[in-house]
Amino acid sequence: MISRARQDLDARTRPGPGFKGLTVLLAPALAIVLVLFGGGLALGVMQAMGYLPGAGLGRLGFQHFAQVLTDPDFATSFALTFYVAGVSTAIAAGLSILAALGLASLRSRWVHFIFQIPLTVPHLVVAVAMLFLLAPAGLLSRGAVALGLIAGPADFPLLINDNWGIGIILVYVWKEIPFITLMILAVLRNSGRELLDVGRTLKAGPWQRFRHITLPIIFPALAAASLIVFAFTFGAFEVPYLLGRTYPMTLPVWAYKHYSDIDLLARPEGIAAGIVIALVVATAVVLAQMLTRAARKKGMVL
């Protein structure tokens, strides 16, 4: 899905290595993915449906899913998770378009190197850094005191463990912008410049070039990258755990809390919540792809 669109042009006409050859090439990798990922997911579903050997929970059914879905906290958790993932993705995508436009013609290797740094920094470290930066006694708060804007930590706006997940969103935005930007830049550099020149001689002004050429060119890459970011932020644990409030929790935190509960009976519920997360993410991806495809068919992108 991620890399299908731009390649495989010659693959259609090339004589293949035959079924046996393909099997030899693909089998090891597919076996690992099928056994470990597929198996993990399948076992998760079974446990969420009540299968727990040796613990006396014999009856298979959807009772744990029902419990999760009817839990009053589930709806709030779901809404919070959706909000955090959606807003983070939207802000990161918007800023990434600006960053890509700014960086497309910038040749400095140093700036490009520095721009890529957030890619390699683990989310956990970013969360720690944001905590030191944004907490009521953090660096920004100290700066505000030094400037005479506030009197003490109590006056500083709550950016960590806050109602609006500002700290969490900031971590994701900082971390994901280079990811989305680099995906866009690759496309822009490939065909962008030439098509923009064509647009200029065909009388398109700067805004028209952006709207009618740049945006359609980068849209598939932007959409794919944004989907991955949305899926990741929807299912990630450590940032909301460190920077979020204890209530309401995001879904992954909620799931892990139940899973690691001392009460073993809560465990299937945790796994069920995990499966729900997986389903939501998969549905979002499928829906987005169908929407894009439909839009393409009608000939209107965006």
Partner: protein
């Protein structure tokens, strides 16, 4: 109206000038080819006219008004690129209508313009196609249609045929000529292919090493090259030196009748095109100035290329006869009206 004047145009990257003092007038309704080997700076000139590159000096006038400093989208010149560069996310009709849409033309009017262009470029029926479902020739025609529909004063074409195979190139060349005749649009056509330039243009401008060498009708450039290099570019061979004396050209290996020429008594370089030399087996009592032995015979189908070693050096002959073999003794006749003289540099 579509007059294009390039006045003393200079273009450079950094300190190096690629184009120096370029001067060219393209009159309304004319198709002028800018011909030259690759790397001569032809595309650079086109991009400067289109506004995609800034010139370092000189002036560009479209219909008498300077367009220096105007952005490409404000100039009444449209460029067709070497590659089709169609917008992959639009179908054929949307691609062609792009420029009209950018100018915010009325949709009904735009639709009519597009329909006209579709039939002019023989694309009718393909308007709904995705661009990647088109053949190379169709893609290039869409690119052409996309530019034509704007009815620019000047159409700039950057080797639009070079990515097509020989057969298609021929048909596309005819199409461009037909469209040019029908619309009377002023066109500046860049190419490195001399036969393409000679067939398609009203006039040809030959560019060598960033300098304009000669402008004229295809026949003028071919038959009356301005200097030996222009002659060489069009396949000229057989250069030799001598002195003009009355109606004679006296080389050290013999003398030839050349008719009345300027520069009586001066040293000149002479050239005769290979196809103009008359070749015959050497007769016993030959009085021909040029005799020699064939060292190489290349059969090319409709003609045979023969290299003859003479006392004066090697001569290349192109003949329709196919009866010579290496080692044959032959005599060469140079028709006086076919000998072209150039002053020594």
């Amino acid at each position: 109206m579509g007059n294009l004047s390039l006045h003393n145009l200079t273009v450079g990257y950094g300190r190096r000038n690629i184009i120096q003092g370029f001067q060219l007038d393209v009159r309304d309704g004319e198709l002028v080819s800018l011909l030259g080997p690759s790397g001569a700076g032809k595309t650079t000139i086109l991009k400067v006219v289109a506004g995609l590159l800034p010139p370092t000096g000189g002036d560009i006038l479209i219909d008498g008004r300077s367009v220096i400093g105007l952005a490409p989208e404000q100039r009444d010149a449209v460029m067709v690129f070497q590659k089709p560069l169609l917008f992959p996310f639009m179908n054929v009709e949307q691609n062609i209508a792009f420029g009209l849409r950018m100018q915010k033309r009325h949709p009904a009017e735009a639709r009519q313009n597009v329909a006209e262009i579709l039939s002019l470029t023989r694309l009718a029926g393909l308007e709904g196609r995705k661009v990647h479902a088109l053949s190379g020739g169709q893609q290039q025609r869409v690119a052409l249609a996309r530019a034509l529909v704007l009815k620019p004063s000047v159409l700039l074409l950057d080797e639009p045929l070079s990515n097509l195979d020989a057969n298609l190139r021929q048909r596309m060349r005819d199409l461009i000529q037909t469209i040019q005749a029908e619309t009377g649009m002023t066109m500046l056509f860049v190419t490195h292919d001399q036969s393409e330039a000679l067939t398609i243009s009203h006039r040809v401008a030959l560019l060598l090493d960033g300098r304009l060498r000669q402008v004229g009708t295809p026949r003028e450039l071919f038959h009356q090259p301005a200097d030996p290099e222009v002659a060489r570019f069009f396949g000229g061979k057989n250069f030799f030196q001598g002195r003009v004396q009355d109606e004679l050209f006296i080389a050290d290996f013999g003398q030839f009748l050349v008719g009345r020429q300027a520069g009586n008594g001066h040293l000149r370089t002479a050239t005769v095109r290979p196809e103009d030399i008359i070749i015959a087996p050497r007769r016993k009592d030959s009085t021909a100035a040029l005799t020699g032995r064939i060292v190489k015979v290349n059969f090319e189908g409709s003609a045979t290329r023969i290299v003859v070693a003479c006392a004066a050096g090697e001569f290349m002959v192109l003949t329709a006869q196919d009866r010579f073999t290496p080692g044959d003794e032959v005599e060469l006749t140079l028709p006086p009206e076919k000998i072209r003289l150039f002053p020594l540099p």
